[in-house]
């Protein structure tokens, strides 16, 4: 047990928590824009997968990280447009379409990857992102590790206040929320419900795609099937746990990130306990928090319901 007292162990755990929470946070922030405007998108897992493969291919082909991220955004947004058009224009059941996105994206990602790199036993590698040390702060004891991350991690955490501002202090955010609460009332006030929901979908696709690209380009430096491994669903839980608010989602993502980081280290300790039990940890925490918090949370009233104007 003395290992928990070890400074290095704690520092590593802190750093890993930050990194593990990053994709969850980014994806959950994207999901907030979708759910706040009334689109309950359970296809986040698929969007992340799409972003992961597109980002990886973009970086491999061009050698430019920026190009990789842009490609990830474009591809994930395109995939999410299937969801958006089906539910906004064709009034399809959002849960069914969201599930379809997950299945579609998984197959699509494998296919595209094999088209680009062929089938080989050794996966292609890229250089990935370099860590940036923030002067002074990175020299702090214990928490210094938090300021030795790559650019992607910094941007993600900076997005929390940005998203809060957009949602609660701008006209765009107000209109998005109105459409997700009472679309009929919003419509009567001259807000175009469909347009707002497409905007929400684009924001959601962009951020979820980036979250996927983080996994392949900014963290693992490799793309393999099932790279996302359920993080899209955990992000979905983080949104509920965080009560559809960026600050709450930050805490939720950190909690899930922490359990993930912890279970990895517990596995590595070689305690003799089956590693499967440790691997379960993040998912068990997800389940428990969902059960404990879902009842008390205040979801957007029209989340998951399509809106069709009555025809006159």
């Amino acid at each position: 047990m003395e290992i928990f007292m070890d400074m290095n162990f704690i520092m590593e755990l802190l750093g890993a928590t930050l990194r593990m929470a990053t994709p969850l946070l980014l994806c959950a922030l994207g999901s907030v824009f979708s759910e706040r405007c009334g689109l309950n998108n359970i296809g986040l897992e698929g969007l992340m997968t799409a972003g992961a493969v597109a980002g990886f291919i973009g970086v491999s082909l061009t050698g430019s990280n920026t190009a990789g991220f842009l490609l990830a955004i474009v591809f994930a947004v395109l995939v999410n447009m299937v969801f958006a058009v089906a539910s906004i224009k064709f009034n399809a059941n959002q849960i069914v379409i969201g599930m379809a996105i997950n299945i579609l994206a998984a197959g699509l990602a494998t296919t595209i990857y094999r088209l680009a790199f062929g089938i080989s036993t050794t996966p292609a590698m890229i250089d990935g992102l370099k860590n940036i040390n923030i002067p002074v702060l990175c020299g702090l004891p214990l928490v210094g590790v938090l300021f030795k991350q790559n650019i992607f991690v910094y941007i993600t955490y900076a997005l929390v206040p940005v998203c809060h501002y957009v949602l609660f202090h701008t006209r765009l955010g107000l209109n998005l929320r109105a459409v997700g609460e009472q679309p009929k009332a919003a419509d009567s006030m001259g807000i175009n419900v469909s347009t707002m929901r497409y905007v929400g979908s684009i924001l959601c696709g962009s951020l979820a795609g980036l979250a996927g690209a983080y996994l392949s380009v900014g963290y693992m430096n490799v793309y393999v099937d099932n790279l996302v491994s359920g993080r899209g669903y955990i992000a979905l839980a983080a949104v509920i746990f965080g009560r559809w608010k960026p600050a709450g989602i930050l805490l939720a993502a950190l909690l899930f990130g922490f359990t993930d980081a912890l279970q990895l280290r517990l596995q590595a300790l070689g305690t003799g306990v089956s590693y499967h039990l440790f691997m379960m940890l993040p998912y068990v925490i997800t389940l428990v928090t969902l059960v404990c918090f879902v009842g008390k949370s205040v979801a957007p009233a029209a989340n998951g319901t399509n809106y069709q104007r009555e025809n006159h």
């Binding site: 006209r171 107000l174 009472q182 009332a185 009567s188 006030m189 001259g190 009233a301 006159h312």
Partner: protein, 528 residues
């Protein structure tokens, strides 16, 4: 220019039009083969409160939707503020200063008042004008005594306060010269309605012109200056309030004279069927909701309970249905103590209920008429076989057809979903199901709320029929006129207590209102 009769007439017409803020002339609107508005005319003078009356389906909403730009007219012309206008969408009507307060509020409950107002502001910049809007709301709230806190969450506000938020929206955003209120009192208690009238008068004094849509004769006579009545898509009357009476307006609306006098009194009153003895009921939060030492409804009589909503009426109805049980005392049906009995036991003992909220408690909107008619006794023959396992659709539908006829339910067929029926017809479906269930006592809560005059009259006559056949009836309603019209005995409820009885045929109105405000009580023996 030569002065001819024609030019004088033209000038006369212009002068006449000038005194009108709004002149809708010969408006026609068709939906397929159905003509919702057939050359309807509406003239609104500057600075008046004008009532637009008519039964459900008379074309009031269509006309107002044309005015608000939601619908496009097929014929006629609209002159607003001296200019002929034609609106292609709601935004254009708003821009000219026509503000609508819909019956179903267009508010986002999860947002604050100020956020709701900002939502309707025309786009101006990326950042929200929070401080400016908040100040404006405070100003308006003070000026018209609206008592609205800009930072309150709309979902936490009472219905009356939400309506005032809608009024603020109209004033703040549209700077409305003309304010249209669509059945604004339908959702309000009598006290809240009085508050609204005071606000409307203040708005009127400040130069706002108001169109007040309603089918309630009494309030129209109270608040309005002039009245236009629509019937079956045509305008049938335009009168000054001073030149008309409630009876006349009623007959304009229905197309025949309407009897609003007391129904014939009961002749054969039997033994007590329902009796409450020392009943005390506290809700889950520990607040005492009901305290009734003694109360009876006899076979063959109608007992009315008047009172402002929220004084224990809902709790009493739930208690009588067995949904909740009193902590003290007994509810007896035909002499049998019902303590601890289930809802099913209450139904079998002869209890039937017209619930206060027909959509939430009485009907399943998405289901058909015949399904709703059988919902309560699905397991009984001939609705089903083998104790409810197999539904007998053929019998069910035949029975439903009979009921549709017997209860005058206006529908395209028994397969029509109940949710798409008008309020009056929905209420008739409930009435049919409850009265035909071989019940011995009918508890009717707000039986004609949101129901037009014609259907109300019909529902009242059916209740009377049930009583004359020996049934016991308890009418609980916030509509005082309704209670007085139906009751053989009439009492007032206040904060869960029976304050006292009045003579329903010659009510002492002053005593009544004192009792409704909880200020005075009388014994039944005093008036007997």
């Amino acid at each position: 220019m030569e002065l001819t009769t024609a030019t004088i007439l033209e000038r006369e017409r212009d002068l006449m039009e000038e005194q009108y803020l709004l002149y809708m002339q010969d408006i026609t609107k068709k939906f397929g083969a159905f003509t919702a508005n057939d050359r309807v005319s509406l003239r609104i003078k500057r600075g008046e409160i004008h009532a637009l009356m008519g039964e459900n389906g008379a074309g009031k909403s269509t006309l107002m939707n044309i005015l608000s730009g939601l619908y496009q007219k097929d014929g006629g012309k609209i002159v607003f503020d001296g200019k002929e206008v034609s609106f292609k969408g709601p935004q254009e009507a708003k821009a000219l200063g026509i503000g609508m307060v819909y019956q179903h509020f267009m508010l986002i409950e999860a947002m604050t008042v100020v956020e709701n107002v900002m939502l309707s502001l025309k786009s101006q910049g990326f950042q929200l004008p929070l401080a400016k809007t908040r100040a404006k709301i405070k100003d308006l709230s003070e000026k018209y005594q609206l008592d609205v806190d800009p930072d309150a969450l709309v979902g936490d506000l009472s219905v009356g306060a939400q309506q005032r938020v809608e009024i603020i929206k109209v004033l703040c955003v549209d700077n409305a010269k003309l304010i249209v209120l669509d059945e604004p009192t339908a959702v309000l208690t009598p006290a809240e309605a009085q508050g609204l009238f005071a606000i409307l008068r203040r708005l009127n004094e400040q130069g706002h012109t108001i169109i007040f849509i309603s089918h309630k004769l009494k309030e129209v006579m109270e608040i309005c200056d002039r009245i236009t009545v629509l019937r079956l898509g045509k305008s049938v009357a335009e009168v000054n309030k001073a030149d008309t009476t409630m009876d006349e307006l009623g007959s304009f609306m229905v197309g025949r004279s309407v009897v609003m006098d007391h129904i014939p009194m009961a002749e054969n009153i039997g033994n007590a069927f329902l009796s409450l003895e020392d009943v005390g009921y506290k809700s889950a939060d520990g607040v005492e909701r009901l305290s009734i030492p003694e109360f009876q409804v006899k076979k063959g009589e109608i007992v009315g309970i008047a009172g402002v909503d929220g004084n224990g009426q809902s709790e009493l109805a739930q208690l009588l249905m067995g949904v909740v049980h009193p902590q003290m005392g007994q509810v007896k049906l035909d002499g049998v103590d019902m303590s601890g009995k289930s809802v099913k036991d209450f139904i079998q003992a002869g209890m039937a209920l017209i619930p206060e909220d027909r959509n939430a408690m009485g009907l399943v909107g998405a289901m058909s008429i015949y399904e709703n008619l059988a919902l309560k006794n699905m397991e009984q023959a001939p609705n089903s076989k083998s104790g409810g396992w197999f539904i007998q659709y053929k019998e069910l539908k035949e029975y439903a057809k009979k009921m549709v006829e017997r209860y005058d339910i206006r529908t395209s067929g028994i397969d029509q979903s109940v949710g798409s029926l008008s309020g009056g017809n929905q209420q008739k479906v409930i009435l049919a199901r409850e009265i035909e269930s071989n019940c011995k006592i009918l508890v009717a809560v707000h039986p004609t709320r949101g129901v037009d005059i014609g259907a109300s009259e019909y529902i009242h006559s059916k209740i009377q029929e049930f009583r004359d056949a020996g049934g016991a009836v308890l009418v609980i309603s916030a509509d005082l006129d309704e209670v007085l019209r139906l009751s053989d005995r009439c009492c007032v409820m206040y904060e869960g207590k029976i304050m006292g009885f009045v003579d329903p045929q010659n009510p002492d109105m002053q005593k009544l209102s004192l009792m409704m405000a909880g200020k005075e009580g009388t014994n039944e023996s005093e008036i007997a």
